[in-house]
Amino acid sequence: MVSQLPVLQVILPLMAAPLCLLLKRSTLVWLFCLIVSFLSLLISILLVQQVSTSGPIDYAFGGWDVPWGIGYRIDQLNVLLLIVITAMSSVVLIAAKESIAREIDPEKHVYFYILYLLSLSGMLGIVATGDAFNIFVFLEITSLSVYALIAMGRHRRALWASYQYLIMGTIGATFILIGIGMMYQMTGTLNITDLSVRLAELPQKRTILTAFVFIIVGVCLKLALFPLHLWLPNAYTYAPSIVSAFLAATATKVAIYLLIRFTYSVFGPSLSFAAIPLQTLFMALGLVGIFVASVTAIYQTNVKKLFAYSSIAHIGYMILGFSTGTVAGLTATLLHVFNHALMKSALFLALAAVMLRIGSVQLSSMQGLGRQMPWTMAAIVLAGLSLIGVPLTVGFVSKWYLLVAIIEQGNWVVAGLILMGSLLAVIYVWRIVEVAYFKEPATAQKGDVLEGAAGGSTEAPLSFLIPIWLLVGANIYFGIDTRFSTQLAQSAAQSLFGVSP
C-alpha cells in the first residue's frame, strides 16, 4: 500500500470523479468529495514524510520499467506542491456546499463536483509525473475542467472569460506540446530524468533552444506572467466563488512548478540561464508585473478583480525569486508559493462568504460590512496584512527571504522596488478596510446587489468561518513558526541545485 502512494495520489480523485454521478444527491456528493480530498491530503502528508526520510520515490506505472513505461517521481520539489494543492482543495471544499447552493443551479451541482475533482487530479498529475508528455495530458485535463468550472459562473461574462482562457490556455499547452516534440526528436526519450542526461550530452543545441523557448512561453501563458496575464482577472472574477478560491490558491502555483521543473530538472540551469538572458528578462517582467498589476488593482471596484490583479503582482514576486538563479532565491519563490496559497485562499473564501450574504463583491456594496460580518471582514483584514507582508504573517516571511536573496546579489535597486511594491498593496487593502469599517452600511442601496439577497446581512455560517479562520490561523502560525514551510522550500531548492541538505 505504502509503495503505491505516488499513484494513489493522482488516481484517487480521478476515479472518484465519475463515481459522483452515481451518488446524485448534492449533499452526498459534497461529503464524498470532501472525504476524497482529505484522503489525498493524507496521502501527500505521508509522501512528505517518506521523501524527507528516504529521499525521492520512483514509481513505474503498471510494472513497466521507466524508459518504456510512464514513471512517477516524487522528490522534495513535488511534495511541497502536492501538499499545497491537496490542503487548499480540502479546506476550500468545506465551504463549497453552501456557496454553490447560492451560486450554481441545483441540477448542476453534481457536475460541479466532478469537474472539481478532475481539475484536482489533473494538477496533482502534472506535479507527480516524471514524464514530459504526461505533463501535457494532465495539463489539458486540468485546463478543460477549469474552463468548464469558470463557465458555471452566474454572470454571462463568465462565459466570455472562460472562452478567452480557453484560447490562451490551448495556445500555451500546444506550445508546450511543440517543445516536448522537439525534445523527443532530439533525444528519443520523454522521461524527465533521461531527458536531462541526454540533453546535456547533445553537441548541437539549436533545436533544444527552440524547444526551450516554446516551453517557457507556453508555461508563462499558463502562469499569467505579465504581459501574458490577460486571461486571469476575468477568469478569477466571474468564476463561482469557490472556484476562484481554489484556482487562486493552486493553478498558477502548478505553472510555477512547471517553470522550475523545466528550467532546472530538464534543461538544467547551465543551458536555461546561459543561452538566453532569461534571468534579466524575468527580473524585468517580474518587476513590471508587480507595479502594473498593483496599480491596476488599486483602481478596481470589484473586490474579486482587485485580488485577481494582486495575484498577478504576486506572481511577479515569485518570478523575481526565480530570476536570481540561486538557492536562496528559489527558496523564496517556493516559500511564496506555499504562503501565497494560504493568503489568497483565505481572501477568496472570505469573498465567497460576502457573496453568500450580500450577493455582490462590489466595493460599494461592502459599505459598513465590518459591523455586519465582523469575523469575515476581520479575516480579510488579517489576510490582507499578510498580502502586504506585515511581520508575524506569512507574507513577511517570504518577502524577507526574497529581499535577502536579492540583496545577496547586491541588487539594492530591485530590493527597494520590491518594498515600494508592498506599499502599493497597502493602498489596495486599505481601500477595502476604509469601505468596510469607516462607512455607514448602505441599507437601501440595491444597485449591483443580486435579487433575493438578504437585506440585513448577518455573519457567514460556520461552514465558512471555520475554513476561513483555519487559513487565517495558518497565515499567522506559519508566519511565526516557519520551520515546516522553510524546511520544505529549502530542501526542494537545494535538491534542484544538487546540494544535499
Binding site: R156, Y163, L166, I167, T170, I171, T174, G181, Y184
Partner: protein
C-alpha cells in the same frame, strides 16, 4: 535544407496560418477553426517525425525489419482526443455565449460588456 525539412516547413506554415486566424478574426467560430488548424499542424509535426525512410507500418511480424516509430503515433492519438475535447468545449461555450449575448462577434461582446459598466 528546404527539401530535407519539407515536413517541418509545412507544419510551420499551417501553424502560422492557424495562429494568425486566432488573433486576427473577431468571429468566435473562426477563432476556433484557427485554433484547430494550429493544433493539427503540431500533430503533423509529430507524425512526420516518426517516419523512418523505407519503413512500413509498425506491425509486429517476422518479415518486417524497418518500421516507423510508433510512439509519436500513440502520443498524437492522445493529443487528438485532447484537441477534440477542446473544440467541443469551445463550441458549446460559443452556443452559450450566443444565448447570453445574442452575438458571436468579439467586438460586439466587448461593446455589450462595456455598456454595462
Amino acid at each position: 535544407m528546404f527539401i530535407g525539412l519539407a515536413n517541418t516547413w509545412v507544419a510551420i506554415l499551417l501553424m502560422m496560418i492557424g495562429l494568425y486566424i486566432v488573433i486576427a478574426q473577431g468571429n468566435l467560430i473562426k477563432k476556433i477553426i484557427g485554433l484547430t488548424l494550429f493544433q493539427t499542424s503540431v500533430f503533423i509535426f509529430y507524425i512526420s517525425m516518426a517516419k523512418v525512410e523505407g519503413g512500413t507500418a509498425p506491425i509486429f511480424s517476422s518479415d518486417i525489419s524497418i518500421y516507423s516509430n510508433p510512439l509519436p503515433h500513440a502520443l498524437i492519438l492522445t493529443a487528438i482526443v485532447v484537441g477534440i475535447s477542446t473544440t467541443a468545449l469551445a463550441l458549446s461555450l460559443i452556443v452559450r455565449i450566443k444565448e447570453a449575448y445574442g452575438t458571436i462577434e468579439e467586438e460586439e461582446i466587448q461593446g455589450l460588456d462595456e455598456e454595462q459598466d
